[in-house]
C-alpha cells in the first residue's frame, strides 16, 4: 500500500497535471473566442503549433503499442509484462492528441457533425473511425490482459491492435500524402515514414514513463530488458532517419522540388536550423550515441536519449508541417508571383503562447490519464528474475 507522504506527492502531481490541463482549456477558449488573430496562424499557415503537438501525440500513441506488440505478437515475455502500460500510454496519448486537435478546430462545438457526416473520400473522416477504433481495441486488449478469464483472448486482441495501429499511422501519413497541392507533401513515402517514426517516438515516450514509474516506486528495471529496449529505440531512430533521408533525396532529384528543398535544408531561416540542429543532430545522432555507446548504458542516459528523440520529433514536425505550408504554392512554376493575399511569398509564422498552452494541455491530459490509471490499476511492469524465464526474452 501507499504511505501518507507518497499519497500526498501523488495528489500534488495530479493537481499539477490538472493545472496544466486547465490552462490549456483557457487557451483553447481564448482561441475559440478570438480566432486566428491571437495565434501565429494565418490564411497561408493554417495548421500551427497545436497540430505539431497533436500529430506527435497521435503518432506516438500508435508507436507506444510497439512494446505490447513485441510481447503479444512476437511472444517475448519481458515485453508482455509491459504490455498493459503500453496500452494505457496509447489511450492516454491518443486522448491528449485528439483533445488538442478538436479544440483547435474552428468549430469544436460541431464535433457531432464530424461524427455523423462522413465523406468517404476524406482521410480525415477515415481517421475518425481509425481513432475511435484504436480506443476500443486497446481497451479490449487491456481487458484481455487484466481479466484472468479473458487471458486466452489476449494474443488475438494483440494481433488486432497491431494491425489497427499500422493502419492508423498509415492514415496519419496519408493526411499529407494525399495533398497534391503542396510540394512538401504528396509522396507515397510519407505513410511508411510515419509508421517508422511512430515506433521511435512511441518507444521514447514509453522509456520515459517506465523510468518515471520505476523511480517513483524505488525500483530498477532488469538490465537485460533495458539493453534490448535501448537497442530497439536506436534501431527505430536509425530507421526514421533513413526514411527522412530518402524523402529529401528523392525530392532533391526532382528539378521542380529543388526550390522547396533548398528552402527547408539551407535557406529557409528557422527551418534548416530546426531540421539539422534540432532533428538530425539533437533528435537523432546524439540519442544514437547515448543508445549505442558502450560506456553509456545507465538508465539515465537512455532517459536523456528518449527526451532528445521527443525534442527532435517536435523539430521534425515543425519543419514538416509549418515549413511545408510556409513555402508558397507553385501556381506559376518558374515565375515569382505576388498579390495582395501573400501569393508567391514565404509565409511567416510565430507560434503564440495560447498555441503552446493548448499543446501542453494535451500533454497534461495524457499525463493525468497515465498517472491516475497506472496507480489505480498498478501497471508497474514486474520483471521475472528467474534465469530460465529470462532466457525467454
Amino acid at each position: 500500500m501507499y504511505n501518507k507522504a507518497e499519497s500526498r506527492n501523488f495528489y500534488a502531481l495530479v493537481a499539477a497535471g490538472g493545472l496544466i490541463v486547465g490552462i490549456g482549456l483557457i487557451a483553447a477558449y481564448l482561441m475559440e473566442e478570438h480566432g486566428h488573430i491571437i495565434t501565429g496562424m494565418n490564411n497561408q499557415i493554417v495548421w500551427g503549433m497545436p497540430h505539431v503537438f497533436a500529430i506527435f501525440m497521435i503518432v506516438a500513441a500508435s508507436g507506444v503499442l510497439n512494446v505490447a506488440s513485441v510481447g503479444s505478437v512476437f511472444g517475448r515475455a519481458a515485453y508482455k509484462a509491459r504490455a498493459p502500460l503500453s496500452g494505457l500510454l496509447s489511450i492516454a496519448l491518443l486522448a491528449g492528441g485528439l483533445t488538442v486537435l478538436m479544440l483547435d478546430l474552428g468549430r469544436a462545438d460541431r464535433l457531432i457533425v464530424a461524427m455523423t457526416h462522413y465523406n468517404l473520400t476524406s482521410v480525415f473522416a477515415w481517421n475518425v473511425v481509425l481513432y475511435s477504433g484504436l480506443f476500443s481495441f486497446v481497451a479490449i486488449y487491456l481487458w484481455t490482459m487484466m481479466e484472468q478469464r479473458m487471458n486466452p483472448w489476449s494474443k488475438p486482441a494483440g494481433f488486432v491492435v497491431f494491425a489497427w495501429r499500422i493502419i492508423l499511422t498509415t492514415g496519419t501519413g496519408l493526411i499529407f500524402a494525399f495533398l497534391v497541392a503542396r510540394q512538401a507533401y504528396g509522396s507515397a513515402l510519407l505513410p511508411p515514414m510515419f509508421i517508422v517514426a511512430s515506433f521511435a517516438w512511441g518507444l521514447a515516450v514509453f522509456h520515459l514513463a517506465q523510468a518515471a514509474m520505476y523511480a517513483w516506486n524505488g525500483k530498477t528495471p532488469g538490465p537485460e530488458i533495458m539493453r534490448r529496449m535501448r537497442i530497439l529505440l536506436g534501431i527505430f531512430v536509425l530507421g526514421t532517419l533513413y526514411f527522412v533521408f530518402a524523402y529529401h533525396l528523392t525530392n532533391l532529384y526532382f528539378a521542380k522540388q529543388t526550390g522547396f528543398e533548398q528552402f527547408i535544408l539551407a535557406g529557409g531561416g528557422i527551418f534548416p536550423w530546426l531540421f539539422w540542429a534540432g532533428y538530425v543532430f539533437l533528435g537523432s545522432l546524439l540519442p544514437l550515441l547515448f543508445l549505442f555507446h558502450s560506456g553509456l548504458h545507465k538508465t539515465s542516459y537512455t532517459v536523456i536519449a528518449s527526451l532528445l528523440v521527443i525534442l527532435g520529433s517536435f523539430a521534425f514536425l515543425y519543419v514538416f508541417i509549418i515549413g511545408g505550408q510556409a513555402y508558397p504554392l507553385f501556381i506559376f512554376p518558374g515565375y515569382e508571383a505576388s498579390s495582395s493575399f501573400g501569393d508567391g511569398q514565404i509565409a511567416s509564422y510565430s507560434p503564440s503562447l495560447p498555441e503552446f498552452l493548448l499543446g501542453f494541455g494535451g500533454i497534461g491530459v495524457a499525463f493525468l490519464i497515465t498517472a491516475i490509471s497506472a496507480r489505480v490499476l498498478n501497471l508497474l511492469p514486474h520483471d521475472i528474475p528467474d534465469r530460465r524465464k529470462r532466457d525467454a526474452y
Binding site: 475559440e32 478570438h34 480566432g35 486566428h36 488573430i37 494565418n42 490564411n43 497561408q44 493554417v46 495548421w47 478546430l105 474552428g106 468549430r107 469544436a108 460541431r110 464535433l111 457533425v113 464530424a114 457526416h117 462522413y118 465523406n119 473520400t121 476524406s122 482521410v123 480525415f124 473522416a125 475518425v128 493526411i175 494525399f178 495533398l179 497534391v180 497541392a181 503542396r182 505550408q325 504554392l329 507553385f330 501556381i331 506559376f332 512554376p333 518558374g334 515565375y335 515569382e336 508571383a337 505576388s338 498579390s339 495582395s340 493575399f341 501569393d343 508567391g344
Partner: protein, 251 residues
Amino acid sequence: MARWGMVIDLDKCTGCQACSTACQMENNRLPGENYQDVLYYTEGKQPTPVLKWFPRPCMHCEEPSCMHVCPTKATFKTEDGVVLIDWNKCIGCKYCMIACPYGVRFYTDEKPLVEPNIKDVYPGEGDLSWNPPYKGPQQDNAHGVGIQPHGVVSKCTFCYHKISKAPKGIADLSNDDAANREFVPACVRTCAPTARYFGDLDNPKSNVSRLISDKRGVRLLDHTGNKPQVYYLSGGAGPAVPSGRGGANKA
C-alpha cells in the same frame, strides 16, 4: 442542367482590379481577402522586365481537391457544377485550405491585412464575423453565401445567389443580355474591357464553349488533375498561363 464555367481573356484584361472590388462589395469581403484576386508576376529579366497580371477566382474544379478532403461534406458540388461550402457543416479543420492548389480559400478571424481592423469598427452579431454597413440582403449559410460566420472557411461562389436564379437552359450569362443581367456574377458584370465570360460549358452553342474551342482555352495547373472550370485565353505569342511559356522568359 448547366455546368457553369468562366472564361478570362488575358489579352483583354487590364489588371484594373475592378473585379476584385466588385467581388468584395458583393460578398462582404474584408480588405485584402478577396475571393477574386489578381496575381502579378514578372516576365523577362533586367533591363527589360515586363510586369504581367493574372486574375484568379476559385476554379470551381470538376475534381476539386477541397471537396475530396472535406471530412463532413461541407464542401460540395452543386448539380450545376459550382463548388460551395455549407457553413452549417464546416467544422473549421482547414484541411481544404491546404489541399487547394490555387490558394483561394479563406478562414475567419484572421489578422487584418489592412488597418484599422474593420471587424472592430463593425463588430459581428451572433455567429457572423462582422457586420458591414453595406451588406446585401442575402445570407445563405447552406451555400456559403453572405457574411462569413466564425470558425469556418469561405470561398468564391461564382455569385451563387445570382446565378442560381437564372432561367433554366440559358447558355450564357452576359451583360449584353439585358433581361438576365441581374444574374451575372459580380466580377463579370463589372469587367470594363469585357475580359470575362460566364456560361454553360456543356452547351456547345454557348459563347464560353466557342471561345474555349476557337481560342484554345487552357486551365491553370492542369497537371494536378483538378480540371478547373475557369479557362484562360490569350491570342498572343505564347500559351495563356505562365507555366506553359518557354524558359527563356522566366524571371
